[in-house]
């Protein structure tokens, strides 16, 4: 019964969750001027270009994830570096 009440309570007050999610989302979306640039896409391209200068890494081996929070956002870049020595080029 208690569990039922708890679930029921949560179901009813979904509006505050909606409010919080929107506030976090819109705070980030508003920084995109005119909707023409996409921060994550730009970062992905530029990060890929930097990596390509030093290593031959397939695009599929780079994972870029963004986690947006109310006060802190994190950008996680996961690069799978090839083990073969031939895969690493000397820096230009």
């Amino acid at each position: 019964m208690n569990l039922f009440n708890f679930l029921n309570f949560n179901r009813r007050t979904s509006a505050p969750v909606a409010r919080e999610r929107l506030q976090v989302l819109l705070a980030h979306e508003r920084t995109i001027v005119g909707g023409e640039s996409d921060l994550v896409a730009t970062l992905r391209e530029e990060i890929m270009a930097v990596i390509a200068k030093h290593m031959a890494v397939a695009q599929d081996n780079v994972q870029i994830k963004m986690e947006r929070g109310a006060s802190v956002s994190t950008l996680e870049v996961d690069i799978e570096i090839p083990t073969a020595a031939s895969g690493i080029r000397p820096a230009a």
Binding site: P16, E29, R30, G35
Partner: protein, 268 residues
Amino acid sequence: MAKVLVVTSGKGGVGKTTSTAALGAALAQTGQKVAVIDFDVGLRNLDLIMGAERRVVFDLINVIKGDAKVDQALIRDKRVDTLFLLPASQTRDKDNLTDEGVERVIGELREKFDWIICDSPAGIERGATLAMRHADVAVVVTNPEVSSIRDSDRIIGLLDSKTERAEKGERVEKHLLLTRYDPARAARGEILKVEDVLDILSIPLLAIVPESTEVLRSSNLGAPVTLGSPNSAAARAYQEAVRRLQGETVVDVQKRGLFSKLFARRAA
């Protein structure tokens, strides 16, 4: 001095066309000369909501292409004689909706009308950007629902950057029209409250249109709700919106029982 008003939202299905018809008719009933223009090329519906679907001869694209004069394309409403409709084209020649063409048509209408109301299509493509392009005033139609609010926020950004006024360093006067609002559900925390939406979007409130069966009934009958069911709560909300658009400070919202007691203060 003519005013160009855009009714916009980003998201589809929130009530842009219903609101365009209702606001246009209510404004025209105050004696103002009003033209409502459907910008949804290919998916016109304002003619249907206004009950003029069988009287369309020429459309906006015909006027832009020079096939017809603006006076030939305008359809006078049978109920309010200061209300006119410029329908959209039903064929898919969206490319004919040009920046110069729209500018010329709006310019001509400014000479003849007090209010020009542009019914924007959903989305942020050409039809939507051209509908807002020459606006002096914008009514952002929003439902108390996350995707609608997000899209409205995006549209507000475009109103502040992509309109003629914005490019001249001037401001488009923006108003929020909250539609399909159910105060009982908001009180139970099931949907976002008025103040939440206002807080997130930070533009002034024009009116709250409650969820109402009269809106559907009127559209079934081909009448703007302000003409088809003028005493309904929805029609009264639109009438109130019109008074605010005309610069009137509406302090005392019409008696609506609990609804007015809850929201009169915030709607002022």
